[in-house]
């Protein structure tokens, strides 16, 4: 399983390198702002929110890319003849995707934490508000990735790109519409589960 996960990460290293770079940059800026933030205007808040949509697109693109390359390069056709089964291949793929989402979410989380902490109620411990905003945002990242898994299972590049883009554009507003309450938790968790179930069904019944 570890080999499969590493393989997925190496195959999609462009995404991971970009995410790690952004995370490192944000980490540095975040620490800097904690010490010198009062003197200078915050950078990570506008930057973090500016990259949130492209980041969501990137998560979706990762999912779509994984499935598209599998179809066109017949990766699973090779792996499935080794001592691994389809379940392991799919699980490794999803784990790699979720890992990307976690890493890519760091700058967005930094922006959210910074923004919340700058609310004009400085005395309030904001733990609850942090969680209320961070968790649905993270779930949305996972959901974007899972939507990408749906769109990418085709050997037509145009279909994969447009499908991923279109589905992602439709999905992202859900957090703006529904806010950060229990409803968004329910919608996103069930959506993630449904996407994974459907992706697994297609993967497990397809001819390689």
């Amino acid at each position: 399983m570890f080999t499969l996960i590493i393989r997925e990460i190496e195959d999609n290293r462009v995404f991971f390198i970009a995410a790690v770079l952004l995370a490192v940059v944000f980490g540095v800026l975040f620490v800097y702002e904690q010490f010198y933030g009062e003197k200078y205007e915050s950078v990570i808040i506008p930057f973090g929110f500016a990259i949130s949509i492209p980041m969501a697109m990137a998560f979706c693109a990762m999912g779509a890319t994984q499935m598209y390359w599998d179809k066109t390069k017949k990766i699973s056709a090779l792996l499935a003849t080794l001592a691994v089964n389809r379940g392991q291949i799919f699980t490794a793929r999803v784990i790699a995707g979720f890992l990307l989402v976690l890493i890519g979410f760091i700058p967005i989380a930094g922006a959210i934490i910074s923004a919340v902490s700058k609310l004009n109620v400085s005395f309030l411990p904001h733990h609850g508000l942090y969680y209320e905003i961070l968790i649905p945002s993270l779930l949305l990242g996972f959901a974007c990735y899972c939507i990408g898994l749906q769109a990418g299972w085709t050997s037509n590049r145009v279909t994969a790109i447009l499908g991923a883009l279109g589905l992602n554009v439709i999905l992202i507003p859900v957090i703006i519409i529904k806010g950060f309450g229990l409803e968004i938790y329910a919608i996103l968790i069930f959506l993630i589960a449904a996407c994974l179930i459907r992706a697994w069904y297609k993967f497990s019944t397809a001819a390689f």
């Binding site: 109620v121 309030l124 411990p125 609850g128 439709i170 519409i177 449904a194 179930i197 459907r198 069904y201």
Partner: protein, 571 residues
């Protein structure tokens, strides 16, 4: 898990994905046309003026007037008096509705104060200058008043004090002897040293004076008294009456033209002790506290006499459908926004005393109550006298027609398209909207994805008028959705026969498509078997190659009677 069960799970999963994504698309479509309708709302729907308000003794009967801007510096005309009667001026902005559709914004702004942190504290007040606060500690059940004293020119806290208040007193330590409050509703006054609260458990009012170090017990509702003060949507408070930004109720007292200054002077509080001035400041509400009940009734709590007497109610605004009884009392959950403004007459008890409420004699004159309809299309204002009798009612109308109706008739195309978008929802959700619309709070209803309480059919479901109207309009409103669903179900059934689904599967798909409409049809197209069919040797129809028998005639693949002989007679 067998293949059939796996397929069923796949169908359900696909259906959910389709439902969510399609609902988001439809929501955006609805919001677009809804915003267009809101933009087309007449100006008359944004303001209501009642002048005279009838709350000042000696004024003539109050009536609703045409909205007009009253300039503060324009002198009265030659035939006009040099005074203006008191008026109630209610206005709202269009964004009140669109803002409700943006849940993220709503959640963030509603959560800041009061806020529940991980330590189970509910914050009611925060002083930004002093960095002090008032909160309820849910674990101990005590109200905490935090004081911070800063050195001049130095923000670092050099003294921080906390006082804990319970039903039995105030202390600098959290002691069990103070007792505890259970689920209180706390006032939000301007004076952070004096707060009032209502304890739901003991059904008693309390007044906490942090400056004086005392807690006094107030009126207690009897056991059989079915009145139940409530918290409003965003803030748990008796006096925070407005539950939505964007609605503004002002009571403007009488004005007199001052020819020397060239302006209209308000008859506010006078610095002398002669006569009463008129205010709607809630500084003085510590004497008279408006209490909103869950049924929509408003009472006024006289803290000196310890009495709770009827003072008014939330008026039900008009909606799209006719026949609304104008005397209907709205519950807080029936309206998108409401605001209650009590009006007092105050008289300084002695000259030269400060502006503390204790230095004034306060008389309660009545109140102005405004409500915005759930759909955001109309507004109603009612003025009540001190005994809770209605003096005057004003509604938003445009040329005499309810603005709810005006809005749709002014932009019929947008209204029609909005109606059609709503009909793309599954019929089962439309029926649920009709039956359950009341159970949704108004503001979240504007950002609903599945069940739409603010849709046309939702409005009809809440309509309390004639049963006949409901029976006539319901099929009309749900008709397009049903027609679409039935048509799609027939297509699904036909295709299911072709692709060889079992009769049980066909039946469920047909029922499912009738119930869920377009999402079900899309789900079917995504999950239907994709085997290319081959011709059956027996019946000549198309059959599935992955089934042992033909789903049409039931014949197997090998049919001895159809095996050709090994000879031919040919020309």
């Amino acid at each position: 898990m067998n293949a059939r069960m796996k397929n069923l799970i796949n169908v359900i999963a696909t259906g959910f994905i389709v439902l969510v994504l399609l609902s988001l698309v439809l929501f955006c479509g609805r919001l677009f046309f809804w915003a267009h309708l809101i933009g087309n709302m007449p100006e008359d729907s944004l303001r209501v003026i009642i002048r005279p308000s009838g709350l000042v003794p000696g004024e003539p009967a109050s009536q609703q007037t045409k909205p007009q801007n009253l300039s503060a510096s324009e002198p009265p005309g030659p035939n006009e008096p040099n005074f203006r009667y008191s008026q109630v001026y209610v206005s709202r902005n269009r964004e009140i509705i669109i803002g409700s559709a943006i849940g993220a914004l709503w959640d963030i702004t509603a959560e800041v104060i009061p806020y529940r942190d991980a330590n189970e504290r509910v914050y009611y007040w925060y002083g930004s200058k002093s960095d002090s606060y008032i909160c309820l500690d849910k674990r101990s059940g005590l109200i905490i008043r935090n004081y911070k004293s800063f050195k001049p020119y130095d923000k670092s806290v050099y003294r921080e004090t906390e006082f804990y208040a319970g039903p039995n007193g105030i202390s600098e330590k959290a002691e069990p002897s103070l007792g505890r409050f259970y689920d209180p509703i706390v006032t939000e006054g301007r004076d952070p040293n004096r707060i009032g609260l209502y304890d739901k458990n003991t059904r008693r009012f309390y007044f906490i004076d942090f400056a004086g170090g005392s807690v006094s017990k107030g009126f207690q509702l009897a056991q059989g008294d079915n009145r139940e003060p409530i918290a409003d949507y965003s803030v748990a408070g008796i006096e925070k009456w407005s539950n939505n930004k964007g609605l503004n109720v002002s009571w403007i007292g009488p004005e007199v033209w001052n020819a020397e200054k060239g302006e209209w002077e308000k008859q506010w509080l006078s610095r002398t002790s002669k006569g009463y001035g008129f205010v709607d400041w809630w500084d003085f509400s510590h004497t008279f506290i408006p209490v909103l009940d869950k049924t929509g009734r408003i009472h006024i709590y006289n803290t000196k006499e310890q009495s709770l007497s009827p003072a008014g109610y939330l008026p039900m605004p008009q909606s799209l459908f006719t026949g609304e009884r104008q005397n209907d009392v709205a519950m807080p959950g029936d309206v998108l926004a409401y605001e209650i403004v009590p009006v007092y007459a105050i008289k300084r008890l002695s000259a030269g005393s400060g502006n503390s409420p204790d230095n004034f004699d306060v008389k309660y004159l009545g109140m102005c109550v405004a409500c915005v309809s759930r759909e955001g299309t109309s507004m109603t204002v009612v003025v009540f006298d001190p005994n809770g009798r209605r003096i005057c009612r004003g509604d938003t109308t445009s040329d005499g027609i309810s603005t709810a109706k005006t809005m749709y008739s002014d932009a019929p195309l947008a209204g029609t398209i909005l109606f059609l978008f709503e009909n793309l929802q599954p019929p089962v959700f439309e029926v649920a909207s009709f039956l359950c619309g009341d159970y949704f709070e108004p503001s979240p209803g504007h950002r609903a994805l599945f069940i739409l309480p603010n849709s046309f059919v939702g409005m009809l479901g809440r309509f309390k008028g004639l049963q006949y109207d409901r029976e006539v309009f319901f099929p009309i409103l749900i008709g397009p959705s049903l027609i679409l669903s039935i048509w799609l179900a027939l297509r699904v059934r036909k295709d299911a026969t072709i692709v060889g689904l079992s009769s049980m599967a066909k039946k469920w798909w047909t029922i499912g498509t009738i119930a869920f409409g377009l999402p079900a049809y899309i789900t079917y197209r995504l999950t239907r078997p994709k085997e290319t069919l081959v011709t059956c040797q027996n019946c000549g129809q198309l059959r599935r190659p992955d089934m042992e028998t033909c789903h049409r005639c039931g014949s197997k693949w090998e049919m001895p009677e159809l095996t050709p002989p090994n000879w031919r007679i040919c020309d």
